[in-house]
């Protein structure tokens, strides 16, 4: 198979315009003859569904939750970037492009990232027109704040609930199309497989999560907007239902997977506090503007923070990175917290935490100023931990947060299966090896509102609009496979719960394929994962039946896929012997223990093609060519 990213020719700034002009169009009367399936109703899925329906296509949208308003995009706190330059502080499309590609440690495709920066401004206009209540200045103009990895203020926000407000905007646009009859919304449906006919994506198989019914749906194109796979680690900041199943089944049907080992670990999360813990909660990165990170100087110091005198505290970020201090990028902050804990200097009952201390800021600016800035976050922290950060330092630790890897897509956001498009976190396209804060919301909405409406037409114009139906043998076969898998899961009747096994997988992944990776650890994980998978298929227990609402069965299906997918993550991490962005190979560090890229050998996207159950995946490279920026070693000293 040959990978063709289909990047248009011409100067960077003109590629998207040229491509839109060169793309084929579907005339308005013909649009209503095409059916499109959208899986997922987060920012990417909801915005795509609404925009495609507005154009006249018939859209069927699926989500796991009881309502499309609940997708995990809703949990994003901080904001959304755009190159509006409303602050007159030197921002531009090129600067947003440059910051994003540099933040990703030069492992993303130039043309895609530039287009993202280009459409960023349209997103803000669109959202305001929908009634998204962004923060405003007294004069009524939009407010901006600054975020990690940028020297300009380009982040738009709605308190600490930006993701919620943007999602509700997209959701309202989606609901409007439901009213018009252009979108059929199917909630509490889980996609179990993709249906391929004559090499093209032609539909999906879903499970009705209330009745257990296995359903088939046909379309002329399938759009996956199914989010990231952070829950491979069991504990992450993702919602409980976030999973890799749709993407993984597409992979097994021929869609290549790109950079699966690129996982962002967010430095400011509430630490793990017990073995019963179900998920981790993120505290906005904005806290590092005023909080100072420290640990005791002496390993094993168990005194409460107030009893540790100033001289016996180690403000390790400020000491090591005097110019960026506590505001180093996410990957650097995370790795350093781990390093301190590995040295025995961690704090709290588990010794796996560091302090984030606001006392100096409170003394400097006054308690009321600090509380006004961070009150809602402090409140959230106190609810979970019963400690008040106004009086004692917060405890934080890194946690799995976002996955830059995903299904490989070309410039049109089409996967290696014709007719299968992938949007948002589910694709690999824009963030390289590390995503900057406030860029996930931008990408999800760019893909859904402003890219797929153009690029899907270019595909549909090349295929027949003849009605599709689910009578084809491929639908029956795929549905039978899904049913058989469910029966197999239910028949195991072993002794371990799904969560127990998922937790075991999570620990292996966190240790070997987490913040720091090395050859030996990854090799060991490659032995352990198949053993856990075998145990799952022999010893898991799932009460209840398949013909009803069965949450154990839902989780089992997802964990079964994580158990296969995790192996690909490890294989990918092993094959990339350089460090870049969030992927730190301990073997590849600078003298100062920073991630050391190897552009001569690894300036490429690692793309994996499924070759069957008993064969290794085939490795392909998409070379990354930089014509407009010069890759440089990141330094935050």
């Amino acid at each position: 198979m040959k990978l063709d990213p289909k990047v248009p020719g011409g100067p960077l700034a003109e590629k998207w315009d040229k491509h839109r002009f060169d793309s084929k169009l579907v005339n308005p009367a013909n649009k209503r003859k095409f059916d499109i399936i959208v899986v997922g109703a987060g920012l990417a899925g909801a915005s795509a569904s609404a925009s495609l329906a507005e154009l006249g296509y018939n859209v069927k949208t699926f989500c796991l939750q009881d309502s499309p308003r609940r997708a995990h995009s809703i949990a994003a706190q901080g904001g959304i970037n755009a190159a509006k330059n409303y602050q007159n502080d030197g921002d531009s499309i090129f600067r947003l492009f440059y910051d994003t590609i540099k933040g990703g440690d030069f492992r993303a495709r130039e043309a895609n990232v530039y287009r993202l920066a280009q459409v960023s401004n349209n997103i803000i206009d669109q959202c305001v027109a929908q009634g998204v209540p962004f923060a405003r200045e007294y004069g009524g103009q939009l407010a901006n704040r600054s975020f990690g990895g940028a020297q300009v203020s380009r982040t738009f926000y709605a308190r600490g609930q930006t993701g919620q407000q943007l999602l509700l905007g997209a959701y309202s646009a989606l609901m409007r199309q439901v009213k018009k009859g252009k979108v059929e919304m199917l909630s509490r449906r889980e996609m179990l497989d993709l249906v391929i006919i004559d090499g093209q994506a032609r539909g999906i198989v879903t499970r009705n999560m209330l009745t257990g019914g296995i359903e088939t749906h046909a379309a002329h194109a399938v759009v996956l907007a199914t989010g990231g796979y952070g829950n491979a680690y069991f504990l992450s900041t993702n919602a409980m239902g976030s999973n890799v199943t749709a993407a993984w089944r597409a992979y097994k049907k021929g869609a290549c997977f790109a950079n699966p080992c690129f996982v962002q670990i967010h430095p400011t999360c509430i630490p793990v506090h017990g073995s019963y813990q179900s998920k981790l909660t993120l505290m906005s990165e904005s806290l590092r503007n005023d909080g100072r990170v420290w640990v005791p100087k002496n390993p094993g110091d168990t005194r409460p923070p107030a009893e540790i005198p100033e001289a016996e505290r180690d403000y390790y970020l400020e000491n090591k990175y005097p110019s960026f201090g506590n505001l180093v990028p996410r990957d650097v902050a995370s790795r350093n917290a781990k390093e301190q804990c590995d040295l025995g200097k961690g704090v709290g009952s588990t010794r796996l935490a560091v302090y984030l201390d606001f006392s100096e800021a409170i003394n400097r600016d006054g308690a009321s100023v600090i509380f006004q800035k961070y009150g809602n976050l402090f409140h959230m922290y106190e609810k979970i931990t019963a400690a008040n950060p106004m009086h004692e330092p917060m405890m934080i630790f890194p946690a799995v947060h976002y996955t830059m890897g995903g299904l490989w897509v070309d410039y049109n956001l089409m996967s290696t299966i014709p007719g299968l498009f992938v949007l948002g976190e589910a694709n690999f396209s824009d963030h390289g090896a590390n995503r900057l804060g406030a860029s996930a919301l931008m990408q999800g909405l760019a893909d859904g509102y402003f890219i797929i409406p153009y690029t899907i037409g270019n595909y549909l114009a090349t295929i027949s609009s003849k009605p599709n139906d689910t009578g084809h043998q491929a639908f029956r076969q795929t549905a039978d496979d899904a049913t058989e898998k469910i029966s197999k899961l239910l028949s195991i009747k072993g002794k371990k719960t799904v969560d127990e096994i998922h937790r075991e997988l999570g620990l292996v992944m966190w240790d070997a394929c987490g913040m720091a990776r090395n050859e030996e650890g990854l090799q060991k994980a490659l032995d352990k994962i198949p053993a856990i998978r075998d145990e799952f298929w022999q010893n898991v227990t799932i009460p209840g039946s398949g013909q009803e609402l069965n949450q154990s069965l839902e989780r089992a299906g997802r964990v079964a896929d994580f158990l296969e997918f995790a192996e690909l993550m490890v294989v990918d991490a092993l094959s990339r012997k350089e460090s870049c962005g969030c992927h730190l190979r301990e073997e590849s560090q600078t003298e100062e223990n920073e991630a050391k890229r190897d552009d001569a050998n690894y300036s490429h996207v690692s793309v994996w093609e499924y070759k069957g159950k008993d064969s290794s995946p085939e490795f392909h490279k998409e070379p990354l060519i930089f014509e407009n920026v010069q890759p440089s070693q990141r330094s935050y000293k």
Partner: protein, 253 residues
């Protein structure tokens, strides 16, 4: 960290049309650092190992923002803590030996699917009836083209903070969705972008609410007390004004 033991009386119902009943379970030792849903996880893990069906309950983000979780705990939707979703309620607020009665959200316009899982699609239906601004993708004017006073933007945001969990309905003696509808009508009426459809929206959403079997508001304020996001009933006053204005003065029918 300390441990407590509780008696749990949980609503068990196999499916919508099956009879339900409260079933009693001993919680076993529960860490006070656990969230309420983690406490249910611990119970479910035990039930699963014993070969019993675990308690079905809706949940997703577990950060208090998706609005998927919710149950009535000792008569309070989302439990006894103010402005807290069930997933953000922690067990340190309960005492050793407490008995907790855990039931699904109940209302005429909701349907119990299984145990604590409820069909709240009626909330989506009210949004479908008019809870949006009719604007297509593309061609929106510059975002700073229309200045919006900060106060209006903030008030709109107060209303837009609704997470659509539907606890307000479960708390209301009339099972009314007035707070939910009022939050959306207020959010959009406070912004210039929402104003062209202001009258139509108020009429359509209220009409849909009635048609779906939600009750009316009789100023009990239970909705506001139960709301995990602190949505104020002042929004209901605004909805009433908007509705009256639309019904009497507008050309919309």
């Amino acid at each position: 960290m300390s441990k407590i033991e509780l008696t749990l009386k949980i609503w068990r119902q196999a499916k919508s049309d099956a009879p339900g009943r409260l079933q009693t379970y001993a919680s076993g030792p529960i860490s006070t650092d656990m969230s309420f849903l983690e406490m249910l996880d611990v119970l479910n893990e035990r039930l699963t190992r014993e070969g019993e069906e675990p308690v079905a309950f809706d949940h997703d983000c577990r950060e208090g923002i998706c609005g998927m979780c919710g149950a009535v705990v000792n008569g309070h939707p989302h439990g006894p803590e103010k402005e807290t979703t069930l997933c953000q309620l922690h067990m340190r607020h309960f005492k050793d030996g407490d008995t907790l009665v855990i039931e699904p959200f109940r209302a005429k316009a909701y349907k119990i699917e299984k145990d604590l899982v409820v069909d709240r699609s009626s909330l989506d239906k009210m949004i479908i009836s008019g809870g949006f601004v009719s604007v297509n993708t593309g061609g929106a004017p510059d975002a700073n083209g229309i200045p919006i006073p900060q106060k209006n933007a903030e008030e709109a945001m107060d209303a837009a903070a609704c997470i659509g969990c539907g606890a307000c309905v479960a708390a209301c003696p009339n099972a009314s969705a007035m707070l939910f509808v009022a939050a959306k009508v207020s959010h959009l009426a406070l912004l210039p972008q929402g104003q062209p459809e202001q009258a139509r929206r108020a009429l359509d959403m209220v009409r849909e609410m009635d048609a779906l079997g939600f009750g009316n508001c009789s100023n009990e304020r239970e909705c506001e007390a139960a709301c995990p996001k602190g949505i104020s009933i002042r929004n209901i006053a605004r909805l009433n004004r908007e509705f009256l204005k639309a019904a009497i003065f507008s050309d919309e029918d």
